[in-house]
Amino acid sequence: SAVISQKPSRDICQRGTSLTIQCQVDSQVTMMFWYRQQPGQSLTLIATANQGSEATYESGFVIDKFPISRPNLTFSTLTVSNMSPEDSSIYLCSVEPRQGVETQYFGPGTRLLVL
């Protein structure tokens, strides 16, 4: 399985500001994803991070609010823009190492609190 790290592990931010979360994988992977886990809730897919092209967003999530970059096969960033307290969540990066493997592995998550 892939080893995934996320930075920062947690942060407290003021409303109206933006935070960029980094996801680093120890090997090249085909697919990278970003999820949100609101307090006491399950995981919701935000978007699929596509290498070299624009991310594919799920219904209810837009690029202006959650811009995503994926410059190569081992790294991606998610920015939470113009934050409000409703953005307080755990944000998780996940990867599918190879097509056909079908198992997603998750990073440790970034705990975000917006005041």
Binding site: I4, Q41, S42, L43, L92, T103, F106, G107, R111
Partner: protein, 112 residues
């Protein structure tokens, strides 16, 4: 559309007793089924998966799950629970080429 249900918000079991965490799913094609565990202040850890083959799947930490196509279920089981198994458990389903969809999660509490 694919979906997964975990009917129990919480499962309580005594240490040493067998445990079952229930999961049912709905897909139009062949399901790929997964169980993940989340410990407090940690990310999700992969436990096991069913893709094809034997209906009884064995995974990490002594957990196993049984795929039942007729009942569209994929219950997680362990013969003897440990206090350290206490965590939040997620069942997830996908169809080939589609996104992974998670259940609401079940809190497992194992008491000594």
């Amino acid at each position: 559309a694919q979906s997964v249900a975990q009917p129990e918000d919480q499962v309580n079991v005594a240490e040493g007793n067998p445990l079952t965490v229930k999961c049912t799913y709905s897909v139009s094609g062949n399901p790929y089924l997964f169980w993940y565990v989340q410990y407090p202040n940690r990310g999700l850890q992969f436990l096991l998966k069913y893709i094809t083959g034997d209906n009884l799947v064995k995974g990490s930490y002594g957990f196993e799950a049984e795929f039942n196509k007729s009942q569209t279920s994929f219950h997680l089981k362990k013969p003897s629970a440990l206090v350290s198994d206490s965590a939040l458990y997620f069942c997830a389903v996908k169809e080939y080429g589609n996104k992974l969809v998670f259940g609401a999660g079940t809190i497992l509490r194992v008491k000594s």
